[in-house]
């Protein structure tokens, strides 16, 4: 609770500034940095880093390969989502993910990395010392055996995919302009901040929270923001009346396959080295994913008498989400259990969604919010110091405290994500506009937002 008070207090003094900050991001940013830097005392450098080991070509090779793999995940997501929407919105949906690769790549090297990982002296964010990657040391203390640029660009890929995940919630109804502005602000004020908390030496790092590859940072932040947006934006025109089935399931399966493939970089790459820990992450990732896909199919079997390929793909993605924070802390059996449970939870969440009647178009919350939450908590259940000596034991290894820590990060991340998303939603909706006019939605976003169509005679 102290944690909550801490940043709620912090926020109060900042919220006005936030609202007016508008587009002059860079100025706003540096002002904020100075304000915030004052009251808090040194905390960062943080983390492991044994006395300056040499750069390893093997580790670098693996992290670069992983960065490339993670880059591919966002187009993978583009197809996963693009296949699920109606034909008239396919390019707009693919474009959202694809454009974010470009947008956040630039945001990250200019100010994002500095905000998230910069040498701040506070719990909250990393400051602006590394704007344009200037003044960065050659090696990060967080990944001492690879060049800093490798770590930075690997992290960039995470920053890219996170806002892209949200697209699933507002698919088929937001303007491209509004989407761009929202995403840029969200990346800066949600992702970069939460990333600092968890990995950048911020408050969760201090608390000993475990998040190997981004359960809180990536999936929960995006998942809860997705839910918030789905509620604020309202349903798609015709929701419940028109048929909104996936227009191309082969594209969904392609996307899911690229996600599975790329996720090895995401999770095993997060070891920042080609070592036994990376191998553990690789294996638990694959196992949880597989188990979740099987489980989802079994649920469908019981529920409808038939397993579907969309179900297998959805289960796989849910499994990937859930194992993400845990992959470098749990063992094989833990990963099997995580995979089983996540499909039960996500499938249930999606059925509940329909009952509740909000329109999380492609289940960004149902999969990433729920799956991410489960993954974060499951890490607190099954983490083992024997798997990762710089980690901790979880509840089932006799350390209930870890579960509490995990719970705190879950709540804090969810709260922060929701809060800022609400603010940004109103900011964007009132200025450039986020939801498209009904006529443009009916016409389809491909034609109305981009003046192009996916398929031609």
């Amino acid at each position: 609770m102290g944690l909550f008070k801490y940043w709620l207090g912090m926020l109060k003094g900042k919220s006005a500034a936030l609202a007016t900050a508008g587009f002059s991001l860079m100025t706003a940013g540096s002002v904020w940095a100075q304000e915030a830097a004052a009251p808090v005392t040194a905390a960062a450098p943080a983390a492991a880093a044994p006395a300056a080991p040499a750069i390893s070509a093997g580790d670098t090779a693996w992290v670069l390969a992983s960065a490339a793999l993670v880059l591919l995940m966002t187009p993978g997501l583009a197809f996963f989502y693009g296949g699920m929407v109606r034909k008239k919105n396919v390019m707009a949906t693919i474009m959202q993910s694809f454009f974010l690769v470009a947008l956040i790549s630039v945001q990250w090297v200019i100010w994002g990395y500095s905000l998230a990982f910069g040498p701040s002296k506070n719990f909250f964010f990393g400051g602006l010392d590394w704007l344009f990657l200037d003044h960065m040391p050659d090696v990060s203390s967080l990944a001492p055996t690879i060049p800093h640029y490798a770590y930075m660009i690997f992290q960039a890929m995470f920053a890219i995919i996170t806002p892209a995940l949200i697209c699933g919630a507002y698919a088929e109804r937001v303007s491209f302009k509004g989407f761009v502005v929202f995403s840029l602000l969200w990346a800066t004020f949600v992702y970069d901040v939460v990333c600092h908390w968890v990995w950048g030496g911020g408050i969760f790092t201090q608390m000993g929270a475990l998040d190997f590859a981004g359960g809180t940072v990536v999936h929960m932040s995006s998942g809860y923001s997705a839910l918030t947006l789905a509620l604020l934006l309202g349903k798609r025109k015709g929701y419940g009346r028109e048929s909104m089935v996936p227009h191309n399931l082969t594209m969904v399966l392609l996307g899911a396959s690229l996600l599975w493939f790329g996720w090895f970089g995401f999770n095993a790459g997060s070891a920042c080295a080609a070592n036994a820990l990376a191998c553990n992450a690789f294996v638990t990732t694959n196992t949880a994913t597989a188990m979740a896909a099987i489980t989802w199919c079994l649920i469908e079997w019981f529920h409808h008498g038939k397993a579907t390929s969309l179900g297998a793909a959805s289960g796989a993605v849910a499994g990937l989400v859930a194992i993400t924070p845990a992959c470098g802390f749990v063992n094989l059996k833990g990963s099997l259990l995580i995979g089983i449970v996540v499909s039960l939870l996500c499938y249930a969440a999606i059925q509940v969604k329909v009952k509740l009647g909000y329109d999380d178009s492609l289940d960004a919350f149902g999969v990433h919010g729920i799956g991410g939450t489960w993954g974060a908590l499951a890490t607190g259940l099954w983490a083992l110091k024997s798997i990762n000596s710089s980690g901790a034991d979880g509840l089932l290894a006799g350390n209930p405290g870890q579960l509490m820590i995990q719970l705190k990060t879950v709540l804090a991340t969810a709260a922060w994500s929701v809060l800022i998303t609400v603010v940004l939603y109103f900011l964007v909706e009132k200025t450039v506009g986020l939801r498209v006019p009904a006529r443009e939605e009916e016409l389809g976003l491909d034609l109305s937002q981009h003046g192009e169509e996916g398929y031609h005679i």
Partner: protein
């Protein structure tokens, strides 16, 4: 017998089908087409070059007995209308004969 061809918005399909089902006319064939009428096509742009595009529509075809024509047409009007340009057209045309392939039945019995 008449053939009723309704060119509708893709988004209206479900309502139209549900509407037809409600009046007990199950036989229906749907095709994807593109077109323009009063609602002009839209300007698209590819690498800076503008081209004029057609809009995606669906054609719902139902062959019905002469007496049901009016009812079916009305259902379609009701379920496909948004009141905005682009709602589409219904064309009714004569059918000389119908055959059910499975049984070889002819005429109104076949539809």
């Amino acid at each position: 017998m008449k053939k009723i061809e309704a060119i509708i918005r893709p988004s209206a399909l479900r309502s139209v089908l549900d509407g037809l089902k409600a009046v007990g006319y199950p036989g229906v064939t749907v095709a994807e087409v593109q077109g323009h009428g009063k609602q002009k096509g839209i300007t698209e742009s590819y690498r800076g070059q503008s081209v004029e595009g057609l809009l995606p529509k669906l054609v719902v075809t139902a062959v019905v007995g002469d007496k049901q024509v009016q009812k079916v047409v009305n259902i379609i009007i009701k379920t496909a209308r948004t009141g905005e340009i682009g709602d589409g057209k219904i064309f009714v045309s004569p059918v000389a004969n119908a055959v059910r392939i499975r049984t070889g039945e002819k005429g109104e019995k076949a539809i």
